[in-house]
């Protein structure tokens, strides 16, 4: 039983389209704003119902608004996803062919890596062997900057990771391309790139850092949820990955304690 779409839903959808990806707290505020602007009945905490109305209409268009978690800060985000994209067509109109090839190669490096990141050195090496058209060092740096600015990649200390926008919007594409090669978090079942791994060679399950924080919360003796071996990694603190409060304020003071950097766990 789907409610019909109203102007409040349309405005929400339009805003999502022009912003690409929004955080859950922005989405809550937007939900309130859209309902109030168009005189629609607003119920706080019913954001998912509201979005489901939109998604019912988007389904025949092979699009939907998807919720995903950032590996960096554990916060949830909403993005508009295209189900028919079997390639990185979303980026196609913004980048040249060789830049797209570089992005694919960077993604390969990141998916392949243990840390879920790729160093700028490794990416520069790729740039040198592109099939389409080689990129010089300076050009590569500019393109990488653009990827970061357009929110496809994050960069820290010369290491590049996939942004939450990339992971949420391109999950379909990544699962198609990488199939079994791509790691999945044992706790939340979404693609896991920056994660902790069980050291038992027969097990090897992966868990996102925020998921580990939640799962192993306050356990002094953590064990692998799959094989029960001792979990040898440092458990991140919960307060670093503050989940959304259901308040309607755009940003409550409590939320901003999550740091923008994440510590990598020590591997033995």
């Amino acid at each position: 039983m789907s409610r019909p779409m109203a102007d409040s839903h349309r405005r929400f959808l339009q805003t999502m389209m022009s912003n690409g990806i929004i955080s859950a707290s922005q989405a809550e505020a937007l939900h309130k704003h859209c309902c109030e602007t168009h005189g629609a009945h607003y119920v706080a905490d019913r954001l998912d119902d509201f979005i489901n109305v939109i998604n019912a209409q988007l389904q025949p268009l092979f699009m939907y608004i998807r919720k995903g978690m950032s590996e960096e800060n554990g916060l949830e985000y909403y993005a508009l996803v295209n189900m028919t994209e079997t390639d990185i067509t979303r980026m196609a109109s913004d980048y040249a062919d060789n830049e797209l090839e570089l992005f694919r190669k960077t993604m390969d490096l990141i998916v392949d890596s243990e840390s879920g990141s790729a160093s700028s050195t490794d990416i520069l090496n790729c740039a040198d062997s592109l099939r389409t058209k080689k990129l010089k060092k300076k050009e590569t740096e500019l393109v990488l900057n653009k990827f970061v600015q357009d929110k496809w990649l994050n960069e820290k200390d010369g290491e590049y990771t996939l942004s939450v926008r990339c992971v949420v919007e391109m999950e379909q594409y990544m699962r198609t391309i990488y199939q079994d090669l791509i790691k999945v978090c044992h706790v939340c079942h979404n693609i896991a790139l920056q994660c902790q791994m069980c050291e038992n060679p027969a097990c090897g399950i992966k868990v996102h850092l925020p998921c580990a924080a939640r799962y192993f919360r306050a356990r002094s003796d953590p064990h692998c949820p799959s094989c029960n071996d001792f979990w040898p990694h440092e458990i991140p603190e919960m307060h670093r990955f503050q989940t959304q409060s259901s308040q309607n304020l755009p940003s409550s003071s409590r939320e901003n304690t999550a740091p923008t950097t994440s510590r990598r766990s020590r591997r033995s």
Partner: protein, 266 residues
């Protein structure tokens, strides 16, 4: 499949002997207008509703992507890149596409150039003040645009560019300096807003050194309510909007989105 091809090629006349793939643009355009109703009926029977649904979705995607770049959409492109074999169903498909844009997105597909069949997507929802603060500075740019549009409107529809720059300077937006919010202000106004068809930036002939003037662009004509703008100005100057008789007359007769915009036609 072959039945359809035979039916199509039998009814397409001598100008279209070449296969679909090698049609050039003019012929692409011409093929839109040489369709009979019996051809359409036959075509409807040749495709499943699932296939047609899919095509509608593809056209919607195509238009959304082009519109994101604010590139006007040409009917020939839709035909060549998306509709392709479903050409005879163009009208059916486009009708559904238009309905989808209105009902799902609150957008309207408007023909800006009836001769060359070029479309843009405009916003059917009323522009509003104050989006949630944490959104990108899309609204700030709209504010900037609104100021410029109102100056042009109040001054009779055409103004020299100096007037725009002076007005902005009074608001501490200096086109000569890099602005915190807008960056290169001159570029935003003369390039971005013009490309998006909110403004027209036209050379005044026989001027030395070259001077330019600003007018409202087609998208502004369709999306911005002159009546609302006049009300706003009235509040600003604490005057009755009707006291500007010329502007009031123009605002009252503006054909906005809701009244008379043409639907797409084949």
């Amino acid at each position: 499949m072959s039945q359809r091809k035979r039916a199509v090629s039998a009814s397409q006349n001598k100008t279209q002997r070449r296969s679909q793939a090698t049609l050039n643009e003019d012929e692409e355009e011409a093929s839109f207008s040489q369709v009979t109703s019996s051809q359409v009926q036959r075509a409807r029977e040749n495709f499943t509703s699932d296939q047609i649904d899919r095509k509608v979705a593809e056209v919607v995607q195509f238009i959304l992507i082009k519109d994101q770049k604010k590139i006007p959409i040409r009917r020939a492109d839709i035909g060549k890149h998306v509709i392709k074999d479903y050409k005879l169903l163009y009208t059916d498909i486009m009708n559904r596409v238009c309905r989808t844009f209105e009902q799902v997105f609150g957008l309207k597909l408007v023909e800006t150039d009836p001769k060359n069949h070029i479309y843009i997507l405009i916003n059917k929802l009323d522009p509003i003040q104050g989006e949630p603060v944490s959104m990108r500075p899309v609204t700030q740019k709209k504010g900037l645009l609104f100021v410029i549009l109102s100056v042009i409107f109040m001054k009779g529809g055409v103004i020299k560019e100096n007037l725009v720059w002076n007005t902005l300077k009074k608001l501490r937006v200096d086109p000569g300096e890099k602005h915190d919010e807008f960056g290169d202000v001159k570029k935003v106004v003369t390039d971005e807003f013009v490309r998006q068809k909110y403004l027209e930036y036209v050379k005044i002939p026989h001027t030395e050194p070259v001077e330019y003037e600003f007018r409202w662009g087609l998208r502004a004509e369709k999306e911005v309510s002159k009546l609302k703008m006049l009300e706003f100005v009235g509040e600003l100057f604490e005057q009755d909007p009707q006291s500007w008789t010329q502007q009031f007359r123009e605002a009252s007769t503006q054909s906005t989105v809701d009244t008379s915009s043409q639907r797409t036609s084949s």
